[in-house]
Every structure is written in C-alpha cells, then in structure tokens.
Symmetry: C2
Subunit: 480 residues, 2 copies
C-alpha cells in the first residue's frame, strides 16, 4: 500500500481524493468548487477526447463553438429548463467596467444559445439534420464539490442536433447513447448499464433522457453519460421552424447529449487500488516505463546502454514509453512513483537481467511480475500485456458489478441490502413518483435507470414498495 494513500477499506472517499492529488491528476483551486486539471489528468482527458471525437465524426457530426455567456432572457424561454438550471448559474453583471443592461449567465449547458442560433440557420427540411457537437467548459454552481465528480467548472462535450422528424431524432438519441456505452466499455474498460431515466431524474427540458450507469468500487452508481430527446420543446421556445417537404411550416426536433471530465472520476473509482491510479492502457499516454537498476557507476553505464536496445524494441512497436534514468532516486522509489501514476507496464532491468539477455515486466493491474522475458521480445510482449490489462480491467469490473447486483423482491431485504453490501438492486417499480421518492427518502437509493437489458428489466410483477402492478424491474442504487 502506498504511503500517502488512505486504503479503500478505511475511507473510500478519502482514498479517492488521495489518488487524485497524489497521482497529480487535479488540484484544488483558489476559487471555491473549481479544480485545476493537472497534466496527468488532462492527458487522460485528451485521450478521451480523441477517441470520442473520432466516434462523433464517424457518425456524421461536426464541431462548432458557441458563446459561454447566455442572455438571461434566453435562459428563461423554456420553463422547465430555467427552473432546473437557474439556481446553479453563475451570472456576469459587469462588463468592460459597466453594469450590464441584461445579465449574462455562464452556460450550465447550451441548448438555449444554440437553439436561438438554429432559428437563423434552419429554413427548410434541406437544412436538416444539423449534427453539431462542441467541446467546452461548463459552469454549475455546486455546494458540495468533489474533484472531477462534481465541480463548479468542468469540461465536457455537448452534442446538439436538429431533425425534421421525431423518429430520426429519437434514433440519434439512441445512437449517441450507444457511442457512449461503446466508449466506456472499450476505452475506460467500464461496463455500463443502458437505460432510461425516470421523469424525476430526466434533463430539465427533455421529453426523456437515456443514460449509462456504472458501478464504482464502493458499489455506488455513477451516471457516466446522458442523451436527451428534447422533442420540439426548444424549437417552440426559440421559434425554430422549417418548411417540410409538403411545404408546411413545422417545428424542428431536438436532441442533446454529453459526457464530461467526470469520466476521469469514473475511471479512477472503477479501477484504482490502494497503491494509486490504475490506467486502462487505451487511455494511458505513457504505456510503459523503463526503470533501470544499478548499484555502481559502472553498472549504470552498462544498464543504460542496454536500455537503448529496449527502447528500440518499444519504438518498433510504436509504444509510447518513458525511461526513468533519474539519478537522485532509488528503484524502489521509482516503482512506487509510477505505480501511483497508474502506468500500465513497467520494464525493470538490472545487471542480472542483462546476463540473461532478458527483462522483467511488471503489470500495474495485478501488480505481478514476469521474469526472463527475452530482450528481443520486449515490444511484442508489452503489446500483449497492454491488451491483456485492458481486457482484465473490464472483466474485473464486470465481475464486480455482477457480484453486487441483486434481484430483490422484498422491501425489507432491499433496505438491508442497500446498506450491506450495497450495490445495484434490481426491483419492480410501479412507475409512481411517490414510490420512487419513498425509496429515496428511506434508503438514499435512487432509480438509476429503467434498463434496456431484458434480463434486468424482466417481466411484470409487483412494485417493491406498494405492491401494485409494475411493468418491469428498474435499477436502484446509491449514486454520486
């Protein structure tokens, strides 16, 4: 266990913060509730951005950029939207030394400013669909903040699309949810449950919201991405009409969808351990670190010479690596340092390995070493290991989720299980807001989603709270 890291068993919440700070992923900022994303953390975000951006473009989307400042009057045009977001807004009242005539809200999300613009761009069905995404910073005033998970400013992407008919828009909502799920599973190695939010949990201004939910190591849920079907709500609010093929004026149909730097929090909480961060190889910029081991200056030269050969084999396979040849630190210190930072593979090499023309490979996920890897196989063995780590992290997280997913039919059992051991409780719900609220009040568990997966959803039954008929099961959990 690493010195500066509180163990998960002792205090999960402190463990999380220790990892974030000690792996130099983020730091507190002088502005309450804001965070500084340090290079190690930002590098993960860049990898996430690159992968997601490609997936967005492959599904026909383009990037654009809309202003961060939104006139107060715009925010107020969609009734549910303003009610949901207004209380958490930061507001600019002074610009260029003068009190502003109209106050400007810093975007808590951009539906209003974007749909006010779409009104100018959309005339005919030929202008549709519009498939736009933006990468941006978002401000939501938060009272209780946690680095990456909930901060007053965060980074995200928000897709905003306009369509000429509802089925096409709904297809987009589902397409982007699938993109998020694929990204979470393939890149973050994070198994997710896809489903629909209840009325009380949906986006303010949406017809409905679909989401992906993941289980963290403390068995709580983390909402990891959402996709909203907005119907004609924003088109109505901003008067966005188009001439359809029959020559009639019609309101456009909208979707929006987003994921944020919160995903870095998900990554940390899903895979890391008491030794520090564990990075899924696909999101690691540095895939491997070479730590040379020597005792004398003579050995030092021999070992560093040998490292050049290792570097050659890594370059051959296009593996991004670091050579840690710092003189002022002992190997043991370097080991812990890179373990803390979550580098997937460590290549250790000392005089004995050189004698055998070999290297030692250490994998961060299991903390296990493989000895006597032939030098010339370093590149291909590291590649294999990276693949294996990526798969292992996913499978481990999936096993964990399975272990702590319970089909519960009795409310007393529910109340016990949600406390110990905790997890995803899959139970029937009658769809009444009252039963949903009662569970929340009594157990702090919320309905994470109405799952799409048929095995989870099951068939009809009796509501776990009131016993009335329920069309299927939903996923309850305590959540971040």
């Amino acid at each position: 266990m690493a010195e500066n890291i509180t163990s998960r068993a002792e205090d999960y919440s402190k463990w999380y913060t220790d990892i974030v700070l000690n792996a130099k992923l983020a730091d507190y900022s002088p502005v309450k509730g804001c965070m500084i994303i340090r290079p190690n953390g930002y590098a993960i975000w860049e990898k996430m951005q690159a992968a997601l951006d490609k997936m967005f473009k492959d599904t026909g989307h383009e990037n654009a950029y809309f202003p961060i400042m939104i006139p107060e009057s715009f925010m107020k045009k969609e009734a549910e939207h303003v009610e949901g977001f207004s209380p958490e807004c930061a507001i600019v009242t002074i610009g260029g030394g003068k009190e502003l005539e109209e106050r400007l809200y810093l975007r808590p999300t951009s539906e209003t400013i974007i749909w006010s613009t779409y009104a100018k761009w959309i005339m005919s069905y030929r202008d549709l669909p519009i498939l736009i995404n933006q990468w941006a910073n978002i401000i939501r005033w938060e009272m209780r903040t946690r680095l990456f998970l909930r901060t007053t400013e965060f980074l995200w992407q928000e897709g905003h699309t306009a369509h000429s008919n509802a089925p096409e828009a709904e297809e987009e909502v589902s397409r982007m949810l699938n993109v998020y799920a694929e990204f979470a599973e393939k890149f973050i190695a994070l198994p997710v449950i896809k489903g629909k939010k209840t009325e009380s949990e949906k986006f303010a201004g949406a017809i409905y919201t679909v989401c992906i939910e993941a289980m963290m190591q403390d068995r709580k849920a983390l909402q990891s991405g959402t996709s909203h079907y907005l119907g004609q709500n924003f088109a109505k609010a901003f008067d966005v009409t188009f001439l359809n093929q029959s020559g009639e004026r019609e309101l456009a149909y909208a979707t929006s969808w987003g994921v944020s730097t919160r995903l870095i929090g998900a990554l940390i909480m899903a895979h890391s351990d008491d030794n520090g961060l564990v990075l899924p190889p696909k999101l690691a910029t540095v895939k491997a670190v070479i730590v040379p081991i020597w005792k004398s200056d003579e050995e030092r030269n021999i070992v560093l010479e040998y490292c050049k050969k290792i570097e050659g084999y890594l370059k051959e396979k296009d593996i991004n690596y670091k050579l840690d040849d710092r003189d002022q630190y002992k190997p043991g210190y370097k080991f812990s340092d890179w373990e803390m930072q979550g580098i997937p593979v460590r290549i250790e090499v000392g005089p004995k390995d050189i004698q055998k023309n070999a290297v030692v490979l250490f994998r961060r996920d299991t903390m296990k070493k493989e000895f006597g890897i032939p030098l010339e196989k370093t590149g291909e063995e590291v590649l294999k290991l990276l693949d294996d780590i990526q798969n292992n992290l996913f499978n481990k997280a999936l096993e964990f989720r399975k272990e702590f997913t319970f089909f519960v039919n009795d409310y007393e059992e529910f109340k016990k299980k949600i406390e110990d051991p905790g997890g995803f409780l899959v139970s029937h719900w009658c769809e009444s807001p009252e039963c949903e609220e009662k569970v929340k009040e009594e157990t702090k568990a919320s309905i994470r989603c109405i799952p799409f997966d048929e095995e989870l959803r099951g068939s009809d039954g009796k509501c776990i709270v009131c016993g009335k008929p329920a069309p299927g099961r939903v996923v309850f959990a305590k959540a971040y």
Copy 2:
C-alpha cells in the same frame, strides 16, 4: 466574382465580413461582441490546434486546465497587469443565487491564477522547469468587434512556463516565437516578421514581448502571435520561490505565449479573393471535392459510377475528399459553393472526360483548370497540386509583402506612403515614446516591432520623426 461577396476593391472591410458569413466560418451571436464559430470555421481551428499542439509537445510541453474564474484579489496583485486588463474584464458577481463575497473575473489571460498555483507546486529547482500549455476560452470586453479578429470571447492557447534562471526562460520565449513563425509560414502559408514590441506595445506585466507580424491584403499589419518574457514579476506577486542548487531561496522566472482564433482572420485576409475563402491545403479538412456533371439520368449513372474510380484513387493517397452528388443543384452552383468555401482542389468529371478516361482538375488559388488528367493519375496529381497551392499561397503573400514594404527615410514621404499605397514602412526610430506616439497620432501607424531580421533592422541612422540618432529601423504600419 461571387454574388454575395463585396469586392476587396470596393470595400475591404465588408469583403472580409462577407467571406466569414458566406463561407459559414462564423456568425454573430445574440451576446454583443461574441461570435459563433460554425463548423467550417471550427474545422480550421481544429487543424491549427492539432499542428500547434504537436509542436508544443515536441518542445516538451504538457497541457493542463485552470479555472476560468479568477478572484478579484488575484487580478490586483501585479500592478501593471491589473491596469492593462481590468478595464476589459467581465465580472461574475452572483453564483448559485447569491451575491458573491469576492467578485470573480473571467480570465482575460491566466497568469494570475496559474502563478498562484505554481506557488504550491514549486519548492526546489528540481520542480523546474514547468512547461504547461492550456487550450481555453478567453473573455475581453471589446467595444468594437470584428469576427475572429477582435471579439469579447475567443479561443486560444496560452503557454505558461516557470524556470530556475533567466537565460533558460528567455530561450523559451524565443523558442516559442520560432514555433509560431514556423507554424504561420508552413501551415497558414503566411510570411511573418519576427521582432520585439516597444515598451508601449508590450504585454501588461511583461519585461518584454516578442511577436510575429503579418501583412494582410489591405496592406495593414496583423499581430499573429506573441511570446512574453515576464521575468520575476509574477513570481514576486504570488510569492513563487524555489530552493536553488546553492540552497538559497530564489524567485522563479516566467514566460507566457499565445495564439488565438484570430489566426483564422489572418488566414482569410491573407489569401482569400472576391470569389470567397481560399484555404491553404494544410489547414483544409476537405482537400478536394468531386463535382460530377450530367444532363440525363443515364449520364448521371455513368458519371457517378466513374466517380467511384476517382474516389478509389483519392483514398489510395489518403486524400480527404467530398463527392458532391446533390441532385437539386446544377454544376455551376456547386462550383461557386465550393469556391466560396475555399476547398483547394475541385475534380470535375462529365461524359466527355469519361470518354478520354480523364478528369479535369481545378485549383482554387489561381482559379485555373487543367484538362485531360489521366484518371489513374488523379491521386498523385491532386497531391502535387495541393503542395503547389500551399507553396504558391506563401510565395504570393511574400511577394505581396515585399511589394508593399518600403524603406522610408523622410517623414513627409512616410505620411504619404502610409496612406497610399500603405504597407510596412521601415524607418529609423530614436526609441523615444514621444516620437512613437507622434507617428501614431498623425498617421495612425504604430510600431509593429523592432525587427530581428538584420536586413530590415539595418544599422544606425536618424529618427524619421525627430532626426536624433536611432540605433536602427523599426516596422511601422496601420494595424488590426
């Protein structure tokens, strides 16, 4: 000449705006002074980002992200800095429904928030250098705005580095200026003059500022990138000290450097013409567009079949292209449309070309066509053409700048030349702020830089204004 575009000769300023709007690069926003960067414009920014980001990383920099909201007290810690930036700040006074205790400035630049953080991160010389860059949005309240060139919100990157000694920091200042110059010349095809700003033109809080300056087609100068040596000013303001190798406490040395979406304005104004945007191929996402020409449905099928072969040859050479097979528009309309958007190469193909097993290539920069290009050579000929266009744009801009760069020794001649034909006037200056100010008042020309180039700088002489001894020439111009 395109219908919707005012000619440069008629009204250069209107021409610029027409290009921005008609090529769908940007749009006005409901918030005064802010802009919406549309997909066509953002695609250029993405290309710029990718190229610059690689150059930053190749020179050892990492990306990070610091909060957009800066406490008022931080802004006030560096006297010159606050004086320079405070009047143009937007200020948040309300957060989460409450009046804030301390007002928060939206970053007009991030020296203060970053150096307050460096105070936590820097303890010893071993923590140095810190080489951080961030991609971010910036707010500076502007009274007179122009799309891309001067807007209240814009996108940029800002490098902020900390060093243990002055020479290393100054080397960084110069290294990054060279990166900017290389980027401008290689990617934007924009020849630039490197030099130092005068005291009155330097960054608020800097010891000195160096810059790159480019000539636009109206012969005005556009400052296209700046790199600042900040000395120990910000370290002093935020108490950033480190233990040096002799075990003594010392203040750290700072640099900062940035370029912004203004570069898109530079790109437009340097190369575009009365038909629309002209994109340097290296910053074009779509390098070529295929426009099939047909009169009957039968021809349509034959031509579109032939296009598949063209597509094959383009894919072979990894050329990103678009096939414009829209039925509702005539070829002539499509030609103008793509010319407006500045796509470097157009491939035209009709039944006659197919008979000859050939294609027609059109290059956007010269608006010239080459007929009878053998089909199977399409890929390689387009590649050649792209290279040629890139070089031609640079050479044309360089020739233009040379044509309108005048070595002037007489103030009367200066006053005439700056009006007609305008351009860069290279004249001796005695280094007194009074003479600099006099020229500005009387001619609206400012000193763009004290050039590094020896041919421009020349040797000592007499100040063009007062006749007193001057150590060398400087570059005067009207500027954006």
